[in-house]
Symmetry: C2
Subunit: 237 residues, 2 copies
Amino acid sequence: MDGRRVEHLLTTPTTPKELISAESEGGTSFPNFLFFVLHKERAHSERWNGPAPPKNPWRYRARTGMLFLMLIREATDADWPTIWAFFHPIVVAGETFTYPTDMDQDQARQGWLLSKPDRTVVALDEHGTVVGTAKMNRNHMGNADHIASASYMVDPAHNGRGVGRALCEYSLGWARQAGYTAMQFNAVVATNTRAIGLYESLGFAVVGTLERGFRHPAHGHVGLRIMYRTLDEDPTR
Amino acid sequence: MDGRRVEHLLTTPTTPKELISAESEGGTSFPNFLFFVLHKERAHSERWNGPAPPKNPWRYRARTGMLFLMLIREATDADWPTIWAFFHPIVVAGETFTYPTDMDQDQARQGWLLSKPDRTVVALDEHGTVVGTAKMNRNHMGNADHIASASYMVDPAHNGRGVGRALCEYSLGWARQAGYTAMQFNAVVATNTRAIGLYESLGFAVVGTLERGFRHPAHGHVGLRIMYRTLDEDPTR
């Protein structure tokens, strides 16, 4: 979906259900998703203590003045250069991911752009700009293959807009639809408190910490947290 | 090393240092190892409350009447059929490993027989029989690549002889020599209390549990434990 199409949806009254249906790829694959409604609800119930938001959802703006509309769709090879533009500096910084800091582009693309039954998506803002990406996959085999995992990367230029939250919510939905009943994050750097807080708000708990498990370039050896939640119930809804 | 050679070493007085040197592959690789001394010491200090063991180490027997002598050496393709003979039923049982229970032999061999810098070994008893195997490898990438992991499988026909302990000790030594400073087990089934107890006795702690993380064929959903230890100090020595 290009930016014009998003713009069109943004300015044309239509129901979320129609949008989702329009974006679905059909078959058994998890549909692309407009993350408008979720964000409206959250903004009101959790972030806002003031007046209720305006009635017209397509025109709704948070206090920061930013629209929460976001399209999440399957990533394609054509998205890669845009992903790599923010992916690479995040990996080079070596503060949040357990990826080789000298990872080259081929390695990165191969590791990030997954094919079915796993899934990699991009989040587009209202201009059709790729503002983040997520990959989601099985985390264990055999009798533990009901545990999924996911990773998220948000373009720092678009931080604070709820992109990470939208991607995380999307991946939980994907995992449920794909038949997973739990999700585990294997390696969340202890100093990445924003991510930990986000995951906790979405029902994850830190189930364990690998002490001195991560060599942070600024903070030295810090913990590496394992976060986990089951998908039987959804505390965020 | 064939059974005759082990038998020879068993009956010929020689020092552990000479044995280790004789078995070393040279270069930077971790040497093959005769696990005699460690086991003698443990048997005396931890298992025995009775009389001290006899003086001649090569003739030393535990109360069970079994020799603790064990050779651990790098696994070869030629070992695979012997490994598969006990590996397969363990995987099919689906009680202790997160491997597909319908795993075929090629999958298994590819996943188990690792090449450098990782390592796969077999443990031979005094007759030269393969009684267990272990693989050891890096567990994380990037700024967490100082964390190793390992997996162990012991032929149930040879349980209770300290094979698992010897393999685990070997892998800790390998990890230290390879420059790792921590070891993590990603998925220890909660009902596998013998393994958990063994790992705890070797300095590991359960750092977290994935509740309902494993579908045990007899016990239903049980926890999947994450176990971890740093390698800075060695509480077992």
